[in-house]
Structures are given as C-alpha cells and as structure tokens.
C-alpha cells in the first residue's frame, strides 16, 4: 500500500500529520465492527501504519548526508560501546553514545571516569566504578597512566583481540582474568536497565564471535547469563546468537565425548590422533562408531571436524570420508540455516571490504593512462626490422601459429598497445629477447585479468582458473609475491611452468578471438555479497580465525594471510553453485 493510497483509505489529503491520521483512524475504527470484517480491519490498520510511517518520516528532520562512518582506526573490530565512557553518559541522555568509539583514535588515552582511577582491580570494584555516580560531562578528562583493570570491557577486548598471537588459546592466567572481566560485565548487565543490558549483550556476543576460538572458555557463562539458548531455534533468533549457540552445542558435545563412558569416546580418541590409522587401531575401534561420529559431527557440529586430522579420517577408508556429504570444501553447503546464518554478520562486513579490495586491485582499466597498463599507445610506429621479434612475442603470449597480423586483424587496439610495449622495452635496451617479451606478456596478463572480469560467465570462470594456477605459482615463491600478484596480476620475473603457460596462452587467444581483450567499457560490479557458508569455507581452508579473515577482506592484514584468504575465497567461489559466485569473481 502506498502512502497516498493509505491516506485515501483514511479519507485524508496529502500532508496529513500524525494527529490527523490517528483521529481519522480512530473514527473509522469506531464506525466498524472488526469481528464482522477482519479483513477490512486489517486493511484499515495497514493504511494507518503506512500513513503514520510516512508522516513521521516527513516530520523528522532530513538525516545528515554523511557517508557511513569510518571504522575506528585503532581497532576496527571493537564494538562502539567498548570505549564509550562508563554508565555516565547513559544516565542523562537515556541514549547510548553509539559512535563514541569512532571519535577516539587512541584507546591508550581513553579518559576514564575520574572515580575509576584508583579503583582496585577486583571485578566488584570495577563494577562499582562502571555504575558509579554520574560524572558531569564537562569533567576534566584525566589522561594519567591509568590501570585498565578498572575497565573490564577494555581489558577483555584487549585480552581477546591479541592480533600478534594469532588468537591462540588463552593461558591459565589470561583465562582467569578474562573470566573475571566477563563476570564483572555480566553482573552489571544483570542489574542494568534494559538499554544497557541489550548493549552489553550485543557487545559481548560480537566480541566472542570475533575472537572465536580464543573466546571459547567465556561462551558458557555468557550464554547462561543472557539466556542465549532459550532463543535457540526460534524464528527470531539473532544471527550472531545462532552462531554462538551452534558453538555452544559443539562445546557440550566435545565435553561429553571426552568422558570415557560416552559411547563414541573411543571413536573420538581414535580420529583425533595424527597420522594414519593402522591395522591395530582399526581392530580396536568399531567402524560403525567412526562412521556415526563423523556423520554426527558433520551434521551437527561442523566446526569440530578440525579436530580430526584429514589423514586419519582418510585412512579409515572412503566409507568414512564419504559418509558425510563429501569432504572439504563442499561439506559446508548443506549444513543448514543455523550455520549459514551465523556468518550473516560477516556478510555485511564482506560488502564493504570488497570495495576496499577493489579500490586497490582495480584501478579503472578504461583509463588507458594508468601506470598498470604501461606507456601511452599513440606514439608507437612499428619498426619493420623487428617484425620477427613481434611475431615471436605474439607466439609466446598467444600460442603457436599466432602472428602479429592475426592480432591486428582481431583486435587492433590491443595489437597497438602490444607493439608499443615491445618498442619501449627494446628501445630501453639492456635486455635479451625473453626480457623484452616479458613486458607485453605482463601487459596481456593484466588485460586478461581485468577484461576477463567483465566478460561472460564462461570466460570469467576460465580466467579465474588460470588466475588460480598462477596464484599457486606465486604462492610457492613467497607471500609478498602472492599478495602482489592477487592485487595487480603482476608476476614479472617469476618463472611459470609450461603447463600453466599453455592454459594462459589458450585463454588469451580465445579472448582475442572473441574480441573481449580490450577496453570493453563494461562495468564490473563494485560489490558482491559473500554467502556466510563461503566465508565459513575460507575460515576452514585457511585455518585462520574469523577476525583475521575479516581484516583481510577489509584490504588489510599480512601478505601471507591475504594470499591465503583471497586464494581460498576465489577457489570456493568457483565451486559455489549460487548466483553470488559470479559477482564475487567479478569483484575480486
């Protein structure tokens, strides 16, 4: 129902305000008998709701035209609440200072509430500090060297977000301290007002999900305090909670199966060992139990499968490896709503990320003057003396039997650029033939990459396959080369095996035949949706924690991580049956 139709139903003219709508609705409602005409009543309600929404929007001041706020530079994953001043600000405004985190660039100098400075390091004291009497907003911020023990939220986030340690499990002292911080937060939530309660709950849920599995020991107390499991399986279950609940069930199962009297205990112990299972192992444990455990874990707790070394599983035979729905990448496809939905949070992050990657990786190829595409194409007048060199270069790049004439006939603009690359490499001097040829080769390689992204799906997929083959080459070389290649398609001076070259030649030739290896003007989508399960696969294949995957997808992170994540995402997307895959391949 459009706002106009809604107003008409209410007998009002355009521009009616909230009071008029309510009045008209009340009059019409009083004039009807809802019991006799439930559908008419439903339409009236709908008209009222639509009209009210429109009127409220019209009455509200226009939202400021601001781009989405930048993530805080210091710790991008930290939720806004983290560095917000303690309860103080809530008390007076009745509203959370949701973006305070964005304003504070250096968490090290967070001005804590004055009364928290000398607070002892116990959770109770910290709690009192948090819930302490309101401090005037104008109070002089104290930038002293303050012990953060007074801020369980800050402490906990720091402890869990330990970037350098790669989210390794917490040590005993760390865990004890983390538990104490969490207890202080939970105690505050239990008695806080609903707004604050919800805020703490969301913040804790996000933190746990982001820093999983480092946060594993904290999941149970948090879930218990917030009653997350009550929400389990409900239609309205929040995605982040669903994700955590799935992990919680996994933890429970892991505990149970670790007890010697669990019927699958032996199978668990067997499958978690390294190396292949030998004859004696196979006599000791029933095959049926192994199959049951594998099937159960794959169906219910897919995240637990990383406890089983693949070699061990495979050594139990195909039966075991296949008894699920296939091993490895494909396995995650059908694991159901809960698992997929769990990554819904990531999907959003994914969107922005991809734009970041794109900005870096794809300077607009239609520009023609971009450094990536080499010298301007207008000056080149081919010297006939070097015709054999040009033909040789074409043969090297596009395959046997291809000549510069063929290239000119098929794609004149490409041929011109190709020749000018040879010319400039040659005239610069000091290079042998292969060295000269590598220049146009790299040029075509980049063209294949950029134009392939805008081409039809078939070509796009083949381009990606070739790109992945080259990626493997780059990865063997070193992470920097790999990361650089993924961003620029540049593999200068890296030897490529002949079979990969053959694939590359065939693709380039085909693209020339189709006439797509030119500035087609086709625009590539600037963003794509990554289904949760795909990110799940990336996490699984790369064995990186979700937080790190996010960082990479934001266009940051170490070269090795970037290399692993982007490569595995491409590979997973290539196999993904959904329609999102094409967009991902185009964007990446």
């Amino acid at each position: 129902m459009t706002p106009a139709a809604a107003l008409k139903r209410l007998g009002l003219a355009k521009g009616a305000d909230v009071a008029a709508i309510r009045k008209a609705y009340a009059a019409l409602f009083k004039a009807m008998d809802p019991d006799a005409d439930p559908e008419g009543y439903a339409r009236l309600r709908q008209a009222r709701d639509v009209a009210l929404r429109a009127a409220k929007l019209a009455a509200a001041p226009p939202p400021p035209l601001v781009e989405e706020p930048e993530a805080p530079a210091a710790e991008p994953s930290a939720a806004p609440w983290l560095y917000a001043a303690p309860a103080v600000t809530l008390a007076e405004a009745g509203e959370m200072p949701l973006l305070i985190a964005g304003q504070i660039e250096h968490p090290e100098v967070v001005p804590p509430a004055p009364q928290a400075i000398h607070a002892p390091a116990t959770p109770d004291a910290a709690l009192r500090a948090l819930a302490g009497p309101p401090v005037l907003a104008t109070a002089e911020p104290v930038r002293a060297d303050v012990s953060y023990l007074a801020r369980p939220d800050v402490d906990l986030a720091r402890l869990l977000h330990d970037d350098e340690a790669d989210l390794a499990p917490l040590d005993d002292a760390g865990e004890t301290f983390a538990q104490r911080c969490l207890a202080a937060l939970l105690a505050e939530a239990a008695t806080a007002n609903l707004t604050r309660h919800a805020q703490i709950e969301d913040w804790v849920a996000d933190l746990l999900a982001e820093t999983w599995p480092r946060s594993a020991p904290l999941l149970r107390p948090a879930a218990e305090a917030f009653g997350w499991e009550n929400e389990r399986g409900q239609i309205t279950e929040r995605p982040s909670i669903a994700w955590l609940n799935a992990r919680l069930r996994g933890l429970r199962f892991q505990d149970k199966v670790a007890e010697p009297d669990h019927p699958l205990h032996k199978a668990w112990a067997e499958l978690t060992r390294t190396g292949s299972a030998n004859m004696i192992d196979k006599l000791r444990v029933k095959r049926a139990d192994i199959n049951q455990l594998l099937e159960g874990v794959r169906k219910h707790f897919p995240e637990l499968e990383h406890h089983f070394p693949r070699e061990r599983v495979v050594s139990w035979g195909d039966g075991a490896a296949k008894s699920g729905s296939g091993f490895g990448v494909f396995r995650l496809f059908g694991t159901g709503f809960t698992f997929n939905a769990g990554y819904a949070i990531s999907i959003f992050v994914g969107l922005q990320i991809l734009m970041a990657v794109l900005r870096m990786a794809a300077p607009d190829p239609t520009g023609g003057h971009d450094p990536l595409f080499g010298p301007p194409t207008t000056t080149a007048t081919a010297d006939p003396a070097y015709a054999p060199l040009r033909d040789k270069a074409v043969e090297e790049v596009f395959g046997k039997g291809k000549t510069i004439g063929w290239l000119r006939e098929k794609q004149a603009s490409l041929a011109t650029n190709f020749e000018s690359h040879i010319e400039s490499a040659r005239s610069a001097g000091g290079r042998d033939e292969a060295g000269i040829i590598s220049d146009p080769l790299e040029y075509v390689r980049r063209r294949v990459y950029y134009d392939g992204r805008a081409a039809d799906v078939q070509t796009l997929r083949e381009m990606t396959k070739v790109r992945l083959a080259l990626y493997e080459v780059a990865r063997k070389e070193d992470p920097d080369v790999c990361s650089h290649f993924l961003e620029t398609a540049d593999l200068t001076n890296i030897p490529v095996p002949e079979e990969v070259r053959a694939q590359e030649r065939a693709l380039a030739a085909r693209m020339v035949d189709q006439g797509v290896l030119a500035d087609s003007g086709e625009t590539v989508p600037k963003q794509a949706t990554i289904p949760g399960a795909l990110i799940g696969q990336v996490i699984k294949v790369t064995d990186l924690p979700e937080a790190r995957v996010r960082v990479v997808l934001k266009g940051e992170g170490q070269p090795a991580e970037r290399c692993a994540v982007i490569g595995s995402l491409l590979r997973a997307a290539l196999k993904w049956p959904g329609k999102e895959a094409v967009d991902i391949l185009r964007v990446m």
């Binding site: 409602f29 239990a190 409900q234």
Partner: protein, 568 residues
C-alpha cells in the same frame, strides 16, 4: 447484565459496569477478592474462597489451590474421594462469584467477560470458556489480563497517553503488554509472557531455600507429599508477605507439637529468587523488540498482579527500566475493573461510546510443512507460520500449501502454536486432514485459513482448490470434545454440590481460619485457641443471631491478636 470476572491463580474478583463506572462486587465476607481455592468436607460439603484456603492447612488432601495452572491440561486433582478437572474447580469459583453478584445486583448474571493471561494458549482459553459454561454463564468474551488492566489504567482520564507497558505478574502467570491510547482507542501493540511464572514460584523458591534450615533432620519428609507442600507453601507465603514490609521474616512450620522456624532476610530471599527475577526480563525484551519501541519511548510502567507488590520484584523492575514504576492502579483490582469495562463495551453502554479496544494475538500460529533444503531433500516438520505473533485481532489469514509427492492422496495439516522453527518444539493444537485428487507433486493443493477472533479462539478452514472440498476445525483438545448434553449433565452435577448457605459464609470462613491458626501454634497457646473455638461453636449452636455475631467479633479479634490479620 454482563459481569466482568478476573479468574486468577491465587485470587478472583468480579466487577460490573454500573452508573458509568466499573464497580467491584464484594463477596459474602465483604471482601473484594475471593481466593481461588476449593475444598471438600468429609460430608461432601464444598467450600470455596477464604474458607477453602484456610482448610488447605488443615485438610490438604481435600483442598485445591492454584488450579488455574493446570487449565487446558488433562491433569485431574483429587479432593477427598473425587477427582476434579481444573475446569470444574474454576467453575465452582465462578459460581461463587455469580452468587455474590446476584446478592449485590439483585439479579443473577447470565453473561460474562472472563480474563485470561495474554500468554494463555488456545487450549487454556478453551478450558476457561468451558469453565464459564459449566458455571451456567455465557462467555461473551475472553479478554487478556494485561489488556483489561490497560483499559482500567487508560480510562482513568480522557487524555491520550504515551505508549505504556503493563507488567502483570500474577500468582501463576506473567504477561507484558505494550499499549497505546489515543482518541479513545486503547491499542495493544505487543504482548509477551511466560505462562509458568508467578508468585507461586517465588513461594517455591523460598521454600526450597528454607526447608533444609528449618528441617535439618528431614522430619517433613515423613509427611504426605501434599501436606508437606501445603505447609511449606503457606509458610513461604506468610514469610513473603512479611518481607513486603520488613527486612526480615520468620519462616515457620508446625509439626505436631514442634514449631520449626528460621529467620530469612530480604537479601536471602532475593538471592533465592534470582533465577525467577532474571526470567522477568526476557518477555519485556521480546515485547519491545516486536513492536520496535525503545525503552525510552515508554511512558509509564504499570504494575498489575499481587506479586508486583514484592519489593524484590519492584526493585528488579526499577533496575530494568531505569525508573520507578507507576502503581496508580490497584494491582489486584485493575483486571476485574477492566473486564467490567469490556462488559460495558459489549453491552454498548452509552458512556463507553467513544472507547474502543484493539488487541493482538501474542503468539505465532501455523501448520507443519516440508521444505526442500539446499540439496533438494525434503525436511519435514518445519513450522510454517500463518498468523505471526502480535498481529492485531480479529484476524483471518490464508496460506496455500501443495503436495510434495506424486499422486499424494491427502493433505494432513497439524496445527501448532509457538515460536520455534521446528514444530516439535511448539504446542500441538489439533490436526485436520483433507483428501486431494491424484496429481503430480505440487499440482494439487489446498488453502488453509486461520481465523483468530477477539477472544483469542482459533478456527481453521481448509479448502482443496481442485475439488472444492472444505474441512473446518474449531480447535479443541480431545478431552474437551463434549457434546452439549454432556456439558449440561456436568453442569447439573456441579450445581447439585452441597454448599453452605451464603449467609453462613462468614461463620464458615472464621471456623476454617480458627482451625488453621490452631494448627499453627503449640502448647499452651494451642489449648487456648481450642478453648476459643469451643466457645464459638457453643454460640453457633445457640442459633441466636446476635450471640453468634458477638462471638464472631470476639473470635476474630482473638485470632488477629494471636496470628496477625488473615492472609487476605
């Protein structure tokens, strides 16, 4: 004349729309509240109300309280020699209230508006309606308790109001409703609740905590379970009431000649019911989420239900909302008054001409269905909602379902209420089956229409497209499938029960109370109370009204001096 009745877990009350205002109806003892308790004497005499509640201590095996918690279940309660269904017991309470109304109004009411917890499911509502019929009443409407309270609160003045939240914690159920009032329309935006959380649970929590303290040797274990429960429950109730006004209370049970007692402080009580207090949050959060209101947008937090008197509960509420709740309505009376307003609306009283009420269906209703997963395999038992929770009522919605197998012969629809994605976790309300013509999968199908009326009762219609065959189901549990004749017979049977004459009620109640107090004491005091009772019985035997009235006044003051005011 339509009477409005609050049929509560602990107490019930009746009110009527009279002279442009809702008026509470006093019972034979002059009280506005009648305990929802029924007791059967050894001679078959039936006691209802205060007398029955006092008999809980002396005759636990023949007395029932809190039976509202079993409404809509198959559970039967044994009182003396006979088994009773919760509907029967509720019908007796309703009848007692009708007797009071008859005495008050001069004419026996024949129609009623009865309140039910918003979160009562379809079966519990049917059982309530049924109880009304057994009491000889035509139930014109079932109205949600928080909605009734909202009416009573909203009609205190003519003003429009900001959205307010009704926090209704009764003896056995907990409801939250978010309500708006504008232009005379009282509109419920969202309801949520927990139909297994109430004052009784706080008693249980306290009893569980105190039992090991007062009875370290396990002497109570030797008692009959029902008697033990009754004793502990009553000790907890007394202590809990004392804690409403004081920092500490005595939790005491009398076992034979011994009084087992221990002190409990308010802090200890709060610790004992921590889990219950935590459960108060979830429905509030859900209701707010459902109507997309922020806590800050709420005007008042209106407290309803006797259990909201507890300081621990008030404290929890204040913390939760960051402000003090509004106690301008009487927590025990508001629901009955609201029911009387609804009764006035139904009888189209001129004074209420400009008032309308709009409620919602607080839970999701739907059928089971099969869905194809990403591998193309059918997953069965998936809940397919037809009416989403917090949809305005009355509502009628239709969904279309198709066969999943070639040449499927029939479609079976199981009807569920609940919020879980898998039907197994929801409440099964009934089933309906229709034949469909043999066709390839997906080419035959049926429309399923759910109609949910203003009383919260559900009707399901299934129509097969291809053949036009229709099936209709008014949801009713198996035990409720009673013919009109059976209902009439049951009503007769209940009507034949022997009651004390109404003018005797005060004496009966006082005697029951005296006997209860007698059991509360030991030694010299007990002998003294015994003597008072003997004196009173002597006065009763004289059949001299004046002497009886005097003796009653004396005994009343003696009992009050000995044990404090009655539990009411």
């Amino acid at each position: 004349m339509i009477v409005g009745i609050d049929l509560g877990t602990t107490n019930s009350a009746a009110a009527v729309w009279q002279d442009d205002a809702p008026v509470l109806i006093p019972n034979a003892l002059g009280e506005m509240l009648t305990p929802s308790a029924v007791s059967v004497g050894s001679d078959g005499t039936t006691y209802v109300g205060a007398a029955a509640l006092d008999r809980l201590a002396t005759h636990p095996e023949a007395t029932a309280t809190s039976f509202k918690r079993y409404m809509g279940t198959e559970r039967k309660l044994r009182l003396g020699k006979k088994e009773w269904r919760p509907e029967d017991l509720s019908a007796l309470v309703l009848r007692a209230l009708c007797d009071d109304a008859e005495a008050f109004l001069g004419a026996r009411p024949t129609e009623a508006v009865i309140t039910v917890p918003a979160y009562f499911n379809d079966r519990q509502r049917k059982a309530t309606r049924h109880a009304g019929e057994l009491a000889g009443l035509t139930v014109r409407r079932l109205i949600n308790e928080p909605t009734a309270a909202a009416l009573a609160f909203g009609l205190q003045d003519q003003e429009d109001r900001e959205p307010f939240l009704v926090f209704d914690l009764g003896g056995g159920t907990f409801d939250v409703s978010i309500v708006e009032k504008f232009e005379g329309v009282v509109e419920v935006r969202a309801s949520a609740g927990d139909n297994r959380l109430g004052g009784d649970d706080f008693n249980t929590a306290l009893a569980v905590r105190m039992k090991p303290l007062v009875d370290p040797d396990g002497r109570l274990e030797k008692l009959d379970a029902r008697q033990r429960e009754a004793m502990l429950h009553r000790a907890a109730e007394t202590a809990r009431r004392q804690l409403s006004s004081e920092d500490k209370a005595t939790f005491a049970v009398v076992l034979g000649e011994d009084r087992l007692a221990a002190e409990v402080t308010a802090d200890q009580f709060e610790a004992a019911c921590e889990d219950l207090l935590r459960r108060l949050r979830e429905p509030v959060v859900r209701a707010l989420r459902d109507c997309a209101f922020d806590v800050a947008e709420l005007g008042d937090i209106v407290l309803v239900g006797g259990a909201t008197r507890m300081p621990v509960v008030r404290k929890a509420i204040t913390r939760m909302f960051g402000r003090f709740p509004n106690s301008s309505v009487h927590p025990d009376h508001a629901v009955a008054l609201g029911a009387a307003i609804q009764a006035g609306l139904l009888s189209r009283d001129a004074a209420l001409d400009e008032i309308r009420i709009a409620d919602v269906c607080p839970f999701t209703l739907g059928v089971d269905s099969a869905e194809r997963d990403s591998r193309g395999v059918y997953q069965h038992g998936i809940f397919s909602p037809i009416i989403d929770r917090n949809t305005p009522v009355p509502v009628s919605r239709v969904n279309n379902y198709r066969t999943v197998q070639d040449n499927q012969k029939e479609l079976l629809f199981n009807i569920y209420q609940g919020e879980a994605r898998e039907v197994s976790a929801n409440i099964h309300l009934g089933a309906i089956k229709v034949p469909v013509p043999a066709r390839p999968a997906g080419e035959a199908g049926a429309d399923v229409r759910f109609s949910y009326d203003s009383s919260g009762l559900l009707e399901v219609d299934v129509t097969v497209h291809e053949t036009g065959v229709t099936r209709n189901l008014v949801i009713a549990g198996e035990a409720e499938v009673m013919t009109d004749r059976e209902v009439a017979a049951r009503r007769e049977a209940l009507a034949k029960l022997k009651f004390h004459p109404r003018e005797d009620a005060e004496n009966v109640a006082l005697m029951a109370r005296a006997e209860r107090v007698y059991e509360d004491f030991v030694g010299e005091e007990r002998r003294m109370i015994g003597q008072w009772i003997t004196d009173f019985v002597g006065a009763l035997d004289s059949q001299d009204p004046r002497r009886i009235a005097d003796a009653r006044a004396v005994l009343q003051s003696q009992l009050e001096a000995a044990s404090g005011p009655s539990l009411l």
